[in-house]
């Protein structure tokens, strides 16, 4: 019974955490830089590498399982505004009183198109299709046998266009995303080996949504006021991320409700890489037990290798020309 509960809860927890592994993008929009985020993806396409993203937390089972995830994700621009990401996560589960289990989650691929960029208002939007490929991971750690398609919309907005009377709010930026996860099959049907009964395990459709609220110290120093702080602080972006999923279809009798986490933390942004550390705070008992943590080392490949693997395969990386100033 305990094991079946754990196996039922693991995919729910993984849904939350796997969406956390989708971080990406060296993202400039006008004077705004949106850092790569850990919980919710950012709204740009870019050449970058998250290696690794490490998270540790306890699942929402009655007897919580300790879970450690180590992820890697590589993102590549095909054109200036279209990119593909591929990622994988290795999971280690330590259920109380039971043998531990390890293995890879399903491989994830994301096709993303940045279709709107408004530099003067620091506004950007992208559309993506994320695909979690079924049967590419280990069932023992909760990898599903079916493929899940998640069309997703992303947006980012910086508040650098606020008037000078609100100058201290200008370093604020927000990002948001909403997606609809569609499994490739509606249910898994199996036979209970003890009773011989038919077991139907529905695959719900989920609404997945998340975002971030950021305060950019680099923006504060370069655009609002130079407080002449020690250089370390001028590279920090305090951030709160959130990530939720709610079953919205084919969830009858599954007992699955809304789950999610809120992740307060900080990102240190350098010229070639960034380092992030965030807490994982579950919003309810089904989302986890206690506070977890995650960390990420993220490389800006477009800055490290600007003339080779860090540039789009087709097209130029920059619109060269004498700058033109608007009003």
């Amino acid at each position: 019974m305990r094991k079946s509960l754990m196996l039922a809860a693991v995919p729910v927890a993984l849904g939350v955490i796997m969406s956390a592994s989708g971080a990406s993008a060296h993202c400039f929009v006008g004077g705004r830089f949106f850092p790569a985020t850990l919980g919710a993806d950012d709204p740009c396409v870019a050449d970058e590498l998250s290696l690794p993203t490490v998270s540790g937390f306890k699942t929402g089972d009655d007897s919580p399982t300790r879970q450690l995830d180590v992820s890697v994700e590589y993102s590549k621009r095909i054109t200036e505004s279209f990119g593909i990401s591929i990622g994988s996560t290795w999971t280690h589960l330590r259920p109380p009183g039971m043998p531990s289990a390890s293995g890879f989650q399903n491989v994830e691929t994301t096709f993303k198109y940045q279709f709107l960029t408004v530099p003067e208002h620091e506004f950007v939007m992208s559309a993506a299709l994320a695909v979690e490929w079924g049967n590419t991971g280990a069932a023992g750690v909760g990898a599903e046998s079916f493929t899940t398609y998640t069309p997703t919309i992303f947006m980012g907005k910086g508040f650098g266009d606020l008037p000078d009377t609100l100058s201290w709010l200008r370093p604020i930026g927000v990002t948001a995303q909403v997606g609809y996860a569609i499994p490739s099959s509606s249910a898994t049907i199996s036979i209970d080996p003890d009773s011989g009964d038919t077991i139907i395990d529905n695959h719900p459709r989920f609404l997945r949504y998340g975002g971030s609220l950021q305060y950019s110290m680099p923006f504060l120093k370069s655009a609002v006021v130079d407080l002449q702080l020690p250089d370390f602080f001028n590279h920090l972006i305090p951030i709160v991320e959130w990530n939720f999923q709610t079953p919205v279809g084919n969830n009858f009798n599954t007992g699955i409700g809304t789950t999610g986490t809120v992740n307060p933390g900080v990102i240190w942004v350098g010229n070639y890489f960034q380092v992030a550390l965030e807490a994982i705070v579950p919003v309810n008992r089904a989302s986890g037990s206690g506070v977890g943590a995650m960390a990420q080392l993220h490389f800006y490949l477009d800055d490290i290798f600007p003339t080779t693997i860090g540039k789009p395969i087709f097209g130029t990386a920059a619109n060269q020309g004498r700058p033109i100033f608007g009003n």
């Binding site: 370069s222 655009a223 130079d226 490290i304 600007p306 990386a317 060269q320």
Partner: protein, 117 residues
């Protein structure tokens, strides 16, 4: 063995990074961003990377929006831009800059300062 390969890869990335040029950010400026000063004779901007002079520019505007000065990359230092001005009357000013770093990454930004007698 696997750990050694992993560390080697990371070192390759980071060491490669020291050879490359990244996006250029405004590091600091004179007058300081957001400061109050007496009439400066120039506005100077220091960036984190070298700039492409032909594709980088800066403008100084008064609170009415009038352009009171234009700047270019300092020939003596490709990381600096300078806007030379006559004595600025008291008021609020805004500096807008758009630059291209030497590896073709474009960035832009603006900041203000105030001149008081």
């Amino acid at each position: 063995m696997h750990a050694t390969r992993f560390v080697t890869f990371l070192l390759m990335l980071v060491c490669g990074g020291t050879l490359a040029q990244a996006h250029a950010y405004l590091d600091h400026a004179s007058p300081l961003v957001g400061s109050v000063v007496s009439a400066p004779s120039e506005v100077r901007l220091w960036f984190t990377q070298a700039l492409e002079p032909r594709f980088s520019a800066a403008q100084l505007r008064s609170s009415s929006g009038a352009v009171v000065g234009s700047g270019a990359v300092d020939p003596a230092n490709p990381k600096e831009m300078v806007i030379r001005v006559r004595a600025l009357p008291p008021g609020k000013y805004k500096v807008k800059w758009k630059i291209l770093s030497v590896d073709t990454h474009r960035t832009e930004g603006d900041f203000g300062f105030e001149v008081r007698p």
